[in-house]
């Protein structure tokens, strides 16, 4: 009898575990989910609402919801002061702001869209933009003035000829270099007229300074690859967007040059030589000559580097190509018409108003995606880096990632392929042929 009971209990326990299924069996998972903060500004609206109702000209008071990730981790108050400025101008529009940490943002958003409870307007990044636009989730923005916005940034967020998002901020990638190491090696500092070959020569001179000193770190990843490919005149997808061109001769040459730095000249550390260290850590430790990285490194490097450093526009090969990253603001296509109008006013204020731009810059948050550089002049005055204007110079040679629905899947496939080439497991040509094959097999281009 006892035997039967134990056996039965065991089986019940097993079945229960099976049923609890493929989800995390790990209670710790809950802890990793960052907290979701909700900032609601109802107080201010309550005072304003009666006033708005009495005036005939203003529209019905409306409350809209706005979700974002970019303000999480330090800029909640900045966003809130932008809202205060907006609400003063539009007392009849109340915005409920929800700030969600980046790690949870897109899963939360996806679940809410599927459940029909998505916010009226929200923040979007370039990786997910096309997928959302192609599924009809985003409303076309018909009532916004886009004239003051950076046109490259704007074009990154149109899909099928329609504008679905307003770029909110931007950052670019520049070449950051350690001046002290250049001095020690007795070579000239990089300039905007350099090519990748000049970079290679400088990197070799710096590598010669010591066993533990490296010339450059440009990770062999998807993001760097599509940019270097463009520097060689290549691209991932044909111009008409109909087919993949991942294994084109230009792309193979580009990947070869990236891999050679690791495998052949070893001016760039291998994964083993890095030993789990981060690339910024390596630069901050003063053992790395050059690193192409984002403008968001400035504050960290200013604090962490006890040597002189500066920046320049990233050198190209047959042409220059520099990274461009932007977040954008979108309106939910499922929102009511009134909410759509109000939401467009709000996101338009956030992305292109002088007030919002000023608050954004004063808080040192990030760069608003405006075309008028004068509005950004205060940004240029901060040093280091001395050559901060290179951030704007790099805007002349932007390259955008291909805007396709299966963006994440494509970038993962290519990432895998290029890292195989980086580790020497396969040649650049083999790796890109495989990526081409997998992309053709698993992704349908519209």
């Amino acid at each position: 009898m006892k035997r039967k009971t134990i056996s039965l209990l065991t089986q019940v326990a097993i079945v229960a575990t099976l049923l609890s299924g493929c989800g995390s069996a790990n209670p710790d998972a809950a802890q990793t989910e960052a907290s979701t903060e909700k900032v609601t500004e109802t107080e201010a609206s309550k005072e304003a609402e009666p006033a708005a109702e009495t005036t005939q000209e203003t529209a019905e008071p409306i409350t809209i919801t706005y979700a974002n990730f970019n303000a999480s981790g330090g800029n909640e108050a900045t966003l809130n002061s932008m809202y205060q400025a907006f609400h003063e101008q539009n007392p009849d529009i109340t915005v409920e702001i929800e700030t969600i940490a980046m790690d949870d943002y897109f899963t939360t958003l996806q679940t809410r869209i599927a459940g029909g409870t998505a916010p009226d307007c929200f923040e979007m990044n370039i990786e997910n933009f096309a997928a959302y636009a192609s599924k009809g989730i985003l409303a076309e923005l018909s009532e916004v003035d886009t004239s003051s916005l950076n046109q490259t940034a704007l074009s990154a967020f149109s899909y099928g000829g329609k504008q679905y998002a307003l770029p909110e901020n931007f950052s670019t990638v520049i070449l950051v270099y350690n001046k002290d190491l250049f001095d020690q090696a007795g070579i000239d500092y990089p300039t905007s007229s350099w090519t990748r070959e000049d970079v290679d020569k400088a990197a070799e001179a710096i590598r010669a300074l010591g066993d533990n000193i490296f010339g450059i770190y440009q990770p062999v990843t998807y993001n760097e690859f599509y940019k270097v490919a463009a520097q060689y005149g290549g691209s991932l997808i044909s111009e008409d967007g109909s087919k993949f061109t991942i294994n084109s001769p230009e792309n193979i040459a580009a990947l070869q040059s990236m891999v050679d730095r690791v495998q052949k000249t070893n001016v760039q550390p291998t994964a083993e030589q890095m030993g789990g260290m981060g690339d910024w850590d390596l630069f901050e430790s003063g053992r790395l000559g050059m690193i192409p990285t984002g403008t968001w490194c400035f504050n960290t490097f200013t604090e962490a580097c006890d040597f002189a450093w500066d920046i320049c526009v990233e050198p190209g090969q047959t042409q220059k190509a520099t990274h461009f990253f932007a977040n954008a603001l979108v309106v939910n296509n499922d929102a009511s018409d009134a909410a759509k109008v109000a939401a467009q006013k709000w996101i338009s204020f956030l992305s292109s108003s002088d007030e919002a731009a000023k608050i954004r810059l004063d808080a040192g948050w990030d760069l608003p995606a405006l075309s008028d550089m004068n509005a950004l002049s205060s940004y240029l005055e901060i040093t280091p880096p001395d050559n901060r204007k290179a951030v704007f110079e790099s805007l002349d040679s932007l390259v955008l990632p291909p805007i396709i629905t299966d963006y994440s899947q494509m970038s993962d496939i290519i990432s895998n392929a290029v890292s195989k080439a980086a580790s020497g497991e396969s040649s650049p040509e083999e790796a890109l042929n495989e990526a081409q094959k997998l992309c053709e097999e698993q992704i349908t281009l519209q």
């Binding site: 097993i14 099976l18 599924k135 629905t405 994440s408």
Partner: protein
């Protein structure tokens, strides 16, 4: 008979809350996942009553999964993990249980120490193990270096990455299974040992003829649980290697998560999780059959 019926009727209101919970959080999702696995729904569009008929694709997801290399390679990676994890994990859990069972001076403290990793969050543990396993600066390779040998490139070499993850997992889980086995040891009637002693059995003989058979139900439970958990391997991989190097530690649950929330292929992900379920179910059924051979229930 009527008394029995009355009893059941009385019990129903008390059972209802947990039944409702089961229906909402277990049965409905299972039915939904089955239906979704036959669609190409992205998980992005609003879910309505038309979603499933509109996106119905039959068994296409299953066919694609089984014909693409990815599914088989992730399965292989999980099996590689299991082959290393289960023996090592059991050996060390057993050692812990036996140490705890000796009732020496510090066993109380030891019990706590062994259990601390179990309570640690996987995120924190993975981050620490990433450093412990660093090929250049890590503790393990430094120790190996003391003996004049060069340690492997844990986590960055495609053959050594999975063993690295196994080490971290064993460290984290051995306290849990150790405590279970310890409980099993405590449950053994001491008269058996006395009888063995009287019969002149040595320590080894006692271990294999008395302890092991009486412990086998506990071991069986631990084996099944650890196998199911092993197939659901995910957080440590995600943090320690992110499936790398070059996809060498890509595992099934990671793929399911990625397809559902990053590639927006919810249907494909649902099919993937059904295949995972079937694999776990089959292995568990095989084990339930095999238990007749080695699991000894006290009668």
């Amino acid at each position: 008979m009527t008394k029995e019926k009355k009893k059941i009727l009385q019990a129903i209101p008390f059972m209802l809350p947990s039944f409702i919970g089961m229906i909402i959080f277990s049965f409905l999702p299972i039915i939904m996942a089955t239906a979704l696995s036959m669609t190409d729904w992205s998980g992005l569009e609003k879910f309505t009553i038309h979603t499933i008929p509109d996106h119905f694709v039959g068994f296409q997801n299953y066919i694609q999964l089984l014909t693409r290399e990815e599914f088989w390679s992730t399965l292989l990676h999980v099996l590689y993990y299991i082959v290393l994890y289960i023996p090592l994990g059991f050996l060390l859990s057993m050692v812990i249980a036996l140490v705890l069972n000796t009732e020496k001076r510090f066993t109380g403290v030891m019990r706590v120490l062994f259990y601390i990793p179990v309570l640690t969050s996987w995120v924190a543990a993975s981050l620490i193990w990433k450093w412990v396993l660093s090929s250049q600066y890590g503790v393990i390779n430094s120790v190996i270096g003391v003996f004049g040998m060069k340690g492997p490139d844990w986590l960055t070499n495609k053959y050594w990455a999975m063993p690295g993850i196994v080490l971290a997992s064993v460290w984290k889980d051995m306290g849990y299974y150790g405590l279970y086995i310890f409980g099993g040891l405590r449950g053994i009637d001491p008269t058996y040992y006395e009888a063995a002693k009287v019969d002149g059995a040595g320590k080894m003989w006692t271990l294999f003829s008395v302890t092991m058979p009486l412990l086998s139900p506990t071991l069986f439970y631990c084996l099944i649980m650890s196998l199911i958990n092993a197939f659901q391997l995910f957080p440590q991989v995600q943090i320690m290697t992110e499936g790398g190097p070059n996809g060498a530690t890509q595992v099934m649950v990671e793929r399911i998560y990625t397809y559902a929330f990053s590639y927006f292929k919810m249907g494909y992900a649902a099919a993937y999780s059904w295949l995972l379920f079937v694999i776990i179910l089959l292995l568990t059924l095989i084990q339930l059959k095999l238990q007749k051979v080695w699991v000894h229930y006290e009668s």
